[in-house]
Symmetry: C2
């Protein structure tokens, strides 16, 4: 039986292989941690190699292996393209790649897929050209979409076994001590890369800033690195901060943010020591601003802000309104600078951030998460991976992780985007199950998940318009009309893993 | 055949089980990293338990399991005795214990051995009463003595599999984030404990200072901790710093230190960016003082000092003569304070410090190590574990690790101690093979290992009296006479592992 708990039909072949989604915590069970093959390094042996070519040779990389990358450079990443180009030149084929995510800048990947260099992909997300190409069906094997916590789980449990991780290192010494806060292309936290380094058989640090031994602070230690390669440039600092958002002036976003802040500050979670995570979108960033005023007015201080750190959080921390920043990834340059300078701004790995199988992730301690969405349906299921046309263009990110684990998960979204409804009967693709989503915040008002009667009671006298999710959908459809059905092909182009590794949905070709 | 490369006869039973020492790097070979059984923690689950008793119950600790402790509290440790007393009360028997070392304060262990609670021990060292009791033959199974790097290797490779680690935590939050720099009993670095936490199936943090979440800095993360127990006191701060040495006024030690400093500063290693490790003994500490003057005079700065950090190193770092302190353990209170305050004072785990099977330990980057010895023999073999009476009373520590890995290993020791010769025909017990030991420094002069002709040449015109090791032995024997043979029994009471896990010696009962 392939119908899962969010009513999605998972083809038997994949249902058998992965299992299907059957509840948020059903599959949180004891497991044996993954092992790795370690090649010890003796005194007098050097790790420094002359080129990426030499590193590929040294690691013994061959057809069929799995390699990984991190996406901390976001749209500024040079490393994945450089390494795949070299691999292609060397005639190595049939690789599985396991980057923590894939950006627009990685469009050259399309050729490597077509040429058979890359035959399997797992990633948090797929953007524009790569997403469209994969949605068109260029791969024989579906891409496996994993959340940030799900990826950490998969690596820690051995579902992903990385043969060689190629890790862009903003600074490294010749023995492999790495951080993301020094160098030419600083990205701040290396939270995703830290997991790769810990579990990969072999790790190649690719750096453009080689510093004297010992490089500190140490985000990734020499004991997790086999080789170090110096190149001219690993990333474009402008691209790293690309998409980082300034405070919005969009009145719709401001209204959403104001409503969201009202929900938070009226909740029982809003008290000294509370904690929150926001996304990097316009509305999410603006929530911080409205919350800030309430924190000052009511003398409430947060114990920590988690993320996905943005300058908005850094400013709150500097003001003393937030004790600590817990950082798996930085969305802008000021956040990376803060990580370097501020002992209360603390770097963690993705396993500690969000893995459902860890001995307790930070999200388990989180009070409130403010998340975005491409679509929300009347079961409160959320889609953050496909457009309304069914094409892959988003990222799973930490959405399902934080939603499941935090005490109150909020989705902020405009009711429509142009002619496309955000609140719909059925999301195109389920990434986060409705069971995890507590409050939808739109510019027209909020809808509270009926599975949270405590919140419905809590917000009874809240001065924000309240609707059922069906009413919000009706308001959306009143503007856009009922969306037309998407005509999919028969090929499965992506498997959407729930954070526990079971399939919550699949995406077919369009 | 049980005779190993340092000419020690290893009983067949143990030779077969462990292998025998056959060269410093012969057994540095690829391996599969140890795995662990992980019990994930869900949101809303608490890790905080009311007592050590409850933690023992929760972990399911039972007869035959292996538990571990760390020795960062040194003579001030309360944790091991507390936990073993409770375990004994609960009737659990036949445990293997794997503390990183054992101090005088752990004398109650003797009763737990006699009562069958503890039937196997591995440790870096054994002091006074416990050492004497074990040397007298109270255990059926020999204690396995491992170096700090060897212990990390054994844990990382699965030779030691820790079922439950009970880790004294100077500060912890209720979700298990631990550091050693805050709290009532600060010990500074938790370098040994970090390895246990990483590889043990279950980890119990025992703290007397429970702080709000999230506790930072994070030496051991929540993802490596299963339970947290708050107790009244985990250690005695005075005991932690006990034995920490002030600068010596002993003229013999000062002369040894002066000679050692002359050797270092005359060597080719003494240049900008050099690195060193010293012990905590009087002569070793004094070396820093003499070296300091040469560093100032010759405008030479060290890139890092490694250890076993002492206030002497902290002072050099503050003065700008040493760039960074790399810290697996703190020997005194000022060092612990420095670790808390100084971003260039950096905490590492024992795997990164010294494991021969890691992807490159820090000792592999070390220029000069200054080490102590109970005995050195004419093959340059060093004993740091048994007295001249054959009784266990020392610790393997990082001796064989740093000696093997650094570029120039120096042993500083007086030629005799009272009526006991330090330089002898044959050490009572071999811990570090002569192949690893480069220069012996005594108050009468130095002896250079003939296997280092480069050093003999380098120090040709050095203004320090130079002898063969046989001449130094003769000078010692001239004072003390030839030492009498020790009369051992037939029982093997300790196995001395070389850092690679093979046996370099055994100790029999006396």
């Amino acid at each position: 039986m392939g119908i899962n708990q969010v009513n999605r039909d998972i083809p038997t072949k994949y249902a058998d292989q992965y299992g299907v989604y059957d509840g948020e915590f059903t599959n949180v069970k004891p497991f044996e941690a993954a092992t790795k093959h370690v090649q010890p390094v003796k005194p007098n042996e050097t790790k420094l190699l002359a080129s990426i070519h030499d590193a590929i040779v040294k690691t013994g990389l061959k057809d069929g292996m799995t390699i990984s990358f991190h996406h901390h450079f976001r749209e500024g990443d040079f490393v994945m393209n450089m390494v795949l180009d070299e691999i292609a030149k060397m005639g190595i084929k049939d690789l599985s790649i396991a980057p923590s995510s894939i950006a627009n800048v990685h469009a050259p990947l399309i050729d490597h897929i077509k040429n058979g260099v890359v035959t399997n992909i797992t990633s948090s997300g797929l953007r524009d050209k790569v997403g469209a190409a994969i949605s068109s069906g260029i791969m024989a094997n579906p891409v496996v979409i994993r959340s940030h916590g799900g990826r950490a789980r998969a690596i820690a449990s051995g579902d992903i076994h990385i043969d060689v991780a190629f890790l862009g290192a903003p600074s490294a010494d010749a023995y492999g001590n790495i951080n993301g806060t020094k160098g030419k292309a600083t990205c701040g936290s290396l939270g995703y890369a830290m997991v790769d380094a810990k579990y990969a058989d072999q790790v190649v640090a690719v750096t453009d800033t080689l510093v004297p031994y010992p490089n500190t602070p140490i985000s990734i230690p020499q004991t997790d690195v086999d080789y170090v390669v110096q190149v001219d440039a690993i990333g474009d600092p402008d691209g790293i901060a690309k998409g980082a958002t300034r405070f919005t002036k969009n009145p719709k976003e401001l209204l959403i943010a104001e409503y969201a802040a009202k929900v938070i500050t009226a909740s029982s979670y809003f008290k000294n020591g509370f904690s929150f995570q926001t996304g990097s979108g316009g509305a999410a960033l603006a929530v911080s601003r409205f919350m800030r005023q309430a924190m000052i007015d009511q003398d409430v201080k947060a114990s920590f802000a988690l993320g996905g750190i943005t300058n908005a959080m850094v400013e709150l921390q500097k003001e003393g309104l937030v004790d600590k920043l817990i950082d798996v990834q930085d969305f802008d340059h000021p956040s990376a600078v803060s990580l370097a300078d501020n002992p209360d701004h603390y770097e963690i790995d993705a396993n500690m951030y969000a893995s459902p199988l860890s001995k307790g992730a930070v999200i388990n301690q989180l009070d409130v998460a403010i998340l975005s969405a491409l679509e929300v349906d009347t079961d409160f299921n959320v889609n953050v991976i496909t457009g309304s046309d069914g094409v892959l263009r988003g990222a799973s990110g930490g959405h399902s992780d934080t939603s499941a684990a935090c005490k109150m998960s909020m989705v902020v979204a405009p009711i429509v985007r142009g002619r496309i409804p955000t609140i719909v009967d059925e999301v195109t693709t389920v990434v986060t199950p409705g069971a995890s989503v507590d409050v939808i915040v739109t510019e027209l008002g909020i809808a509270i998940n009926p599975n949270r009667p405590d919140l419905i009671k809590m917000f009874k006298s809240l001065k924000v318009p309240q609707f059922t999710i069906e009413e919000l959908r009706d308001k959306a459809y009143a503007i856009t009309g009922v969306p037309a059905k998407i005509h999919y092909g028969d090929q499965v182009v992506a498997l959407i893993e729930y954070r526990d590794g079971h399939l919550i949905d699949v995406v077919k070709n369009v």
